[in-house]
Subunit: 192 residues, 2 copies
Amino acid sequence: MARTKGFDPDAAVDAAMDVFWSNGYAGTTPQQLVDALGIGRGSLYNAFTSKHALYERALRRYHERETARLIEILDGHGPARERIRAAVDLVLAASLDDDERRGCMVTNAAVEFGGRDEIVGHLVRRALDRQQAALKSTIEEGQRAGDIDRDADAGALAAFFLTTLNGIRVLAKADPDPARLSSLADTALRLL
Amino acid sequence: MARTKGFDPDAAVDAAMDVFWSNGYAGTTPQQLVDALGIGRGSLYNAFTSKHALYERALRRYHERETARLIEILDGHGPARERIRAAVDLVLAASLDDDERRGCMVTNAAVEFGGRDEIVGHLVRRALDRQQAALKSTIEEGQRAGDIDRDADAGALAAFFLTTLNGIRVLAKADPDPARLSSLADTALRLL
DNA sequence: GCAATTTTGTAACTCTAGTTCAAGAAAGGT
DNA sequence: ACCTTTCTTGAACTAGAGTTACAAAATTGC
């Protein structure tokens, strides 16, 4: 009944994600997208409507893909504090193994857009809330299991670790110095 | 011998700082600068050479002006832990009293440029290093005075608080919710 | 194979970014 | 008063952003 797309939209969103992740929203041009996705301008706009709409999809994709790894670790098994440590270590490792210094795309989006974009703001909040919720339930599990202080405020601790993770992303962007970053996990974990 | 400038360059840099602070580098247009500085395009480029050069001056100005307030608190008198608390509270208060959600311009610069701009990178590192150094010496003072554990690693704690401050800026940009942010100082301070 | 429909590639278009330039205006030294 | 220098204004310029338009091509159901 109709011609089928000559490219894989999912793969295209992945490619767009990479470009936006590296250059930010304002820093990305249609030409870069065309080059990276390997499709013509016409197909780009036909399939994705606008740069902004594509960015939204890319950010969603990032959230699904990258945040999922964090959540997976937090929702895993083993002592809660070790899971939290593994989560911090994951971010630390990602920050150090990031030659391009793209950081976390959610953090980048939060900083680039601030409160100036309802849609992006919503996506960012969802992503952060999801992380904080995973942290919180891991902490609560630890409290039930007895390896984390039962009197601690799990919500406050979760917000705090979320802050730490984002702080690490910022620091690593400015100065990806292993010596500076490596102690952060140990220090933060002392709170548990 | 020569005509004198019809505007105050210092005031112009201040105005430029505001624009860049609100919109980021890529998000700022020459027209916005012209409007905000109240001078013609010609004067702008005659006085400041380029958008990038003006941004550098604006970022330096920010560092001199805003970071100074942090340092001032840290270098003040009184028990070290109270100074650290005051510093965290300052950032928290700044984040909550920020309707535009511009956050910290140094944090924003770190995230926007990552490793892609030597000059900006250098400025950002200087600003962060300065903050970390102030944190460190405050902590060391507290250790000498006895109100902070002498066995703690002051450098690691300083890096950690720097991370926390930047994390707060990011969180506040995404969701300036007092309930979420207000507990962060208490939680972080528990490390001392 | 035909109709219907969608994709594709390319050109085109508008608008603005980022910068430069030319011509005149102010200031100071002499 | 003049000369030099620097500043100012505003137009002008190039390049590219972001998007749309269109004609040709491809696909599928029938």
